[in-house]
């Protein structure tokens, strides 16, 4: 769910909660408070998500929040509405504060009734409101959680299952394939620019390599060490690196991930337009140990936000490259600046590229001549004006100098 929409929905609910609180204060302190107002707002988000917030003046205690969102999978679940697991997850947000209205409002998949009289008065009120406003994310993530929870419950006689296409973000579907003892999540990667493809591809290869490095080190540790030649420093150091990575136990718990430029065999039979990519396919093997207890939430979050994570990384990398290039430009230009000094050995500090020009340029003959003439005329003046009269210099500068008819900078623009 985008942050902007999350903020708008929570803002709406906050206003209604404040209004309700002020009404309650009116009852206790007998002060005039804001009058309850009619609220009937429709909020839209890209990806065909729609919210409807409704509150009537006659019944200000209750507010109705309806949500319409495309579900992760458009298959069987849609015909039955939301699954019992999803409704259970929604109820768990706050059992006192919200209640699911059945049937949902026409055109919406879920309608919630919010009772502001039961909202906590302390800091937790904001937390509850924030969780309610992110109910769309709860609906989508609960569907994937339900699939992952049942990873071990499939009968092995069923063999391979048809891939299930899930859409968390428009135009970025991914696939979940159920197998015995594990679930494979496959992400077809697409990018608009060629440079993004290259950056992402090197990232995927590194990600797959990180896992493979730990697996190789665990399996081949002993045999590799035996084949190391004593005294051969290169082999010894490489073996030492493998030992260091393999000795950490944490990488053993990571789901195996791999990248391939072609669709994996599990996706055979899927529509061609879904399998045509320029960034290859990233696969994660999720087993039961990745969904135990609190890991289920983290795994679901990681899978649903994988696309956003990769795109953010690509964008940050491009920004990093741009910053490096700017910094390097300054140092490359500085090479020319530091390569030469002025004729008399002094260095003037002037900013910009003109600085470079001034430092590396040789003084031309005309400039040398002018400078010598200036020195000569200065000497003449000193000789001629040896007799010093106080104040005469100022008088001379003000009254005895010839006026300049042309600008020293350049020509004067005629209008």
């Amino acid at each position: 769910m985008s942050n902007k929409m999350h903020f708008r929905v929570s803002y709406q609910i906050c206003i209604l909660a404040d209004q309700n609180h002020s009404n309650n204060q009116c009852y206790s302190f007998h002060d005039s408070a804001e009058k309850p107002i009619e609220v009937d707002h429709h909020l839209y988000e890209f990806g065909s998500v729609e919210y409807h917030v409704k509150s009537s003046a006659s019944d200000p205690q209750f507010t109705y929040l309806s949500i319409s969102t495309p579900l992760l999978t458009q298959g069987v679940l849609l015909s039955y509405g939301l699954s019992p697991y999803t409704t259970q997850m929604v109820r768990e947000i706050s059992a006192d504060f919200l209640e699911i209205v059945e049937p949902a409002k026409e055109g919406y998949q879920l309608t919630l009734r919010l009772d502001f009289s039961k909202i906590p008065r302390d800091v937790d009120s904001l937390k509850v409101i924030t969780e309610v406003s992110s109910v769309q994310a709860v609906i989508l993530s609960s569907q994937l959680k339900e699939m992952l929870r049942n990873v071990n419950s499939w009968d092995t006689s069923q063999g391979m299952y048809k891939p299930i296409k899930l859409v968390y973000h428009p135009r970025e579907p991914f696939y979940v394939i159920r197998q015995s003892q594990k679930i494979i999540a496959v992400f077809p990667m697409r990018f608009k620019e060629y440079s993004d493809v290259i950056i992402a591809t090197s990232f995927f290869q590194v990600s797959g390599g990180e896992y493979k490095l730990s697996v190789i080190s665990n399996i081949k540790l002993n045999s590799y060490c035996c084949s190391c030649k004593k005294g051969d420093s290169a082999y010894y150091l490489f073996g030492q690196e493998l030992m260091d990575v393999g000795s950490s136990e944490k990488w053993a718990k990571v789901p195996p991930c791999s990248w391939s430029p072609i669709p994996p065999p599990e996706l055979r039979g899927e529509p061609f337009e879904d399998l045509s990519t320029n960034g290859g396919f990233v696969s994660f093997d999720i087993s039961s140990r990745h969904i135990e207890g609190k890991r289920l939430d983290k795994t679901v979050w990681s899978l649903l936000n994988f696309y956003a994570y990769v795109k953010h990384h690509v964008k940050c990398t491009r920004g990093f490259i741009q910053r490096r290039m700017r910094k390097r430009l300054e140092s490359l230009v500085e090479v020319l600046q530091n390569s030469s000094l002025e004729e008399d050995g002094r260095i003037k500090k002037v900013t910009g590229w003109r600085y470079m020009k001034k430092l590396v340029t040789l003084p031309s003959k005309s400039k040398i001549l002018k400078r010598r003439c200036g020195d000569f005329t200065g000497k003449i003046k000193r000789i001629r004006f040896r007799i010093k009269i106080h104040g005469f210099g100022r008088f001379r500068r003000k009254w005895l100098t010839m006026p300049k008819f042309s600008s020293s900078i350049g020509y004067t623009k005629l209008e």
């Binding site: 990745h290 490096r324 230009v333």
Partner: protein, 170 residues
């Protein structure tokens, strides 16, 4: 590896020292009162010298074209893989777009090369010849170094990001 680079750069330096003998203010033979870099126009063959191509290997080469009043140096930088390819293109294009900061840099490289310099007689009048040659040789070294460092940095960042992502599952 370093030896071949040294030999390559030394060869380029010696060639530039011989090639950078540009005549001051040679007027254009085609158009009156115009003064154009003949190496770009190539209208009068008698004003052009034989171009010199110095190759370190198939991927790295340097083309030095000389004329009576101008000199053009075109460089092809080594690109081992796709990542180095895009980094080189981005970086050299970035520099070319800011050619005024370098004065002797050409805004568009010669076809078949990654970056080009154009040195005219005016540059030789304003700048010291030896310093110019030092700058170009140093530029070549710095570009190679920078591309390698960029590639390493990108891979290191990718590794760190991948590590952080995989930690979510632990």
């Amino acid at each position: 590896m370093a030896n071949t680079l040294r030999l390559y750069l030394t060869c380029i330096r010696n060639t530039l020292e011989a090639a950078m003998c540009l005549q001051q203010n040679f007027p254009c033979q085609e158009v009156e009162r115009h003064n154009k870099p003949e190496v770009e126009l190539k209208t009068s063959p008698e004003l052009l010298l034989n171009p010199v191509l110095i190759c370190r290997n198939e991927a790295e080469k340097c083309l030095i074209e000389t004329s009576i009043n101008s000199l053009r140096i075109s460089l092809k930088v080594k690109q081992a893989d796709e990542l180095e390819n895009i980094l080189t293109k981005k970086f050299l294009r970035f520099l070319s777009m800011r050619a005024e900061a370098f004065q002797v840099l050409r805004r568009k490289p010669v076809q078949g090369y990654d970056i080009s310099f154009l040195i005219t007689n005016y540059h030789c009048e304003e700048m010291q010849k030896q310093k110019l040659i030092d700058f170009i040789v140093q530029f070549m070294e710095d570009i190679d170094k920078e591309i390698s460092e960029l590639k390493m940095s990108v891979n290191t960042r990718g590794r760190l990001v991948a590590t952080e992502f995989l930690k979510q599952f632990i």
